[in-house]
Amino acid sequence: MSVHNSINTGKPITVTIDGKVCKSTFGKTILQIARENDIYIPTMCYLSKVQPIGSCRMCVVNVEGVDGMILSCQEKAVDGAVITTNNSALFHERQNIMKLYDVNHPLECGVCDKSGECDLQNKTMEFDVDTQEFTARDQHRPVENWGHVSYDPALCIMCEKCVRVSTEITGDEALKVKFGGYGSTIINVKQEKNYASLGEAAAVCPVGALVSTAFKYTSNAWELTKIPSACPHCGGGCQMYYEVKRDRIYRVTNEFEFSTLCGAGRFGFDYANEGVSKDPAAFNAAVEAFKNADSVVFAPQISNEEAMILQKLKEKYGFKLVSHEARAYQKFMAAYSTVTGKHLYNGDLKTLSDSQAVIVLGIRINNDSPTVKYHINMASKWQRARVIYMHPMEDSEIQNIVTQFIKYEVGSEEGVAALLAHTLLEGNEDVTKTLREYLDDLDIGNLSAECNVGEEELDALKKSLLKKRGFSLVVGSDLYMHPRAEQIAKLVALLETYAGFNVICVPPAGNAMGVSLICDLDDSAEGKTVGYNVKGDFTLSALGDGDLDMPALNQQEGTLTTVDKRVVPMHVALPYGGYVLNDIANALGIHAKYTIDYTPMLPVAKGFKKTVFDALDEYFDATGTEHRGYLLASQKVPVKRTLDEIEEIEAFDGAVVYRCDPVEQFSPFTAKSTLLKDEPVMLGSTQFAAAAKLQDGDTITFEIDGISFERLFKIDTEMKGTIALNPTFDMGLSASLLSSYRFSRLVFRKTNNENIGNNDE
């Protein structure tokens, strides 16, 4: 799959490891080949998903004809090599390494969180360390609490996995090594930010040094039942395990060797709708409400199967089915596919992380899709990728990976897409004649002025792509909700078709992608409505505040569709005593015993497979290949490449707000999670405050799409420009009613009262 990965482009080689003949390709390390062939080589610092660290020396092997011991995690295998992974000298070497690790290591396995799954414990036993000959003067190393995670330097073995994850994977770059011989420690240089992404650094820690603060000392690892699932928050569908004991989720872990979870997935797990019992009166009312409904409006935080049930109900009862974000995405992808001829975008995350140039357009990537941002970060760290970030607002959180920031005017996305297509398709010979004419006819000077994107910026962009291989383009929901979304989609699609870009159209929320593929959505609701996780005349809610309770996504089985175009299973982590959507469907004459009976019925025409739920795999193999669910099959659609004139750009003057949640907040469900504590405040720069005549600490009310917001305004000194960030994660059942373009002019009323604005003198 990964065409750009130099590892896979090597020529075939054969090596012998412990007498076993192993076929592989050049470019792989001895350790990788051994693991591919189920040969065990002990490691302490090796983490498959980052570059070899080489700090432990446990992975030493002997190679015939080479003096001394070789680090198998770093050394590439050469054709014909004969390798021994274990003999008494190697054992002794490894035993001594373990003895050194054990010097002054506190004897606190009895209380340590890691006990039972600790690499140090395991390898100390494995290498028979029953006496200690080494010694060093111990030092006082107090525990440090960094917020989401805490660090105990006394337990740290300085393997550096956490630092590498924070740098190469999540890209928060918060953890650093403070060198000092035996006194070396890990330091958090961005403690004040309290990055939830550090949860991933804690996950890879082989010992109990870096742990989740909330989980610390609450349970032994062996008491917890691991329930495999997929994170439902952002549409990433990342692999995760709920770790459960006595009907409570204690923590979330993952297959950290190969996959990554963002802070929301890791810490946002306690949103279950608890203490629900069956209320037949409410249930009957719900059934009646469905019968009489003119529209069903729902939030995209549902499973594929639930979406399927809603679609079946629509077919039977003929109501309108409305889910704004998913609908916008559906229309965007429909337009997109008329150019590419395939119903899905071609991109995937693995290829993204192998790219040498990445363009990000119309998405605040760090907030909207952490997992996509992590893959861009990997490309930046491993491929030294050029990252061109195009957005009306600069984002200081990603300035470490962005090599070129191109700021455009709010609302000018169509023009920007046209400029991009024009620049990147210049001189391209595959382009059809009509398209060439269309591109040549574009008034570049005018567009560039209207979008406020300089031609020299585009030239620089173009130049920086020279001599690079592997291009990715990531687009997001600023485009889907744009009034000219369909035209933008076609322009973006040109880059997939003609410029060889790996394009990812990041799903806007929750399972919006699954919903957009399964449901036949309508543009707007009318008449009597039933809302599912949305306020309606009759409301079904997994948040516990509706007319009938529904299970939250960690209380039900089902599948999700992810940004990687994969259909992945979720399992029940917590019990639920009430009615589910399938019960309503049964009462309405659409019969199925379980919700997951719909898994094999998902539309094959949209790339789903007829696999039954219980047959879906959930694992990574020894080489790190993902076997979770299945990949959506690409479907052909008729091609119709007609592009319209670029429309005049409507000017957004004055104070503008951008709908955007804080990092690692996505929905009312993450908002319900106690470990993710974010204030729903409107954040703006000093410039914005001046433009809107606001002061830090003012409370304002305003309306977007008929939904009224009350917000405390705060000045963020790291921000620039006249656009403020307006979160929606706290809006509960109203959050998914928003349907317009993400930017809007701010027309507000100040509602400061004496009690609130007491600090402005």
């Binding site: 009895g110 028979d128 006496t131 603060t213 609450t218 032994n220």
Partner: protein
Amino acid sequence: MGLEQFKNRNVGQQNYVMLDLEHTPETGMGKFRQVVRRTFKAELFVGLWVTMREMINALFKGQMHTVKYPFEKLPISPRYRAIHEMLRLLESGHYRCIGCGLCEKICISNCITMDTRYDENQRKEVSEYTINFGRCIFCGYCAEVCPELAIVHGPRYETASEQRASFSLFEDMLTPIDKLNLQQEYDGFGAVTPNADENIKKTPLAY
């Protein structure tokens, strides 16, 4: 690491004594003679005298042998496994349990349930600890596995209760702080062996 050293508990000394018993007669005549001898020896009165002596001793000399259970109880072997006790550290008075959860894990009848938390002093605190004595089979595994000699078997063997489930809380089993001076070190199941010192290997120190 072998287990031999752990198996050598050196508990108890065996001092057997042979009793001097007369031979059992084998012939019919021999049996007859034994009966006649015993009949005319007036052994009945020997027995009555013993009873009389004990009565006098009990009533007038204060040497009563009856144990007035339940007001009095006989001492019981340290290896007897009765209702659990939670011991405290003698120096600080803090409870010994570190919340490692090994007793909970090993318990064969799943009757130990516990919860722990991270406390203000950065210690692992036992926030919840119960044993359901209705289920406990007094196997002693918990006392044996405990690395801190915190959970031990006490001498209280009455386990009758009104309900099948009968829970004891941590506080119920913990040595009362004002009786800390009376806390007995435990010699039973899981206690350190008398020769533990000999088995210790020293760790080198840099200073």
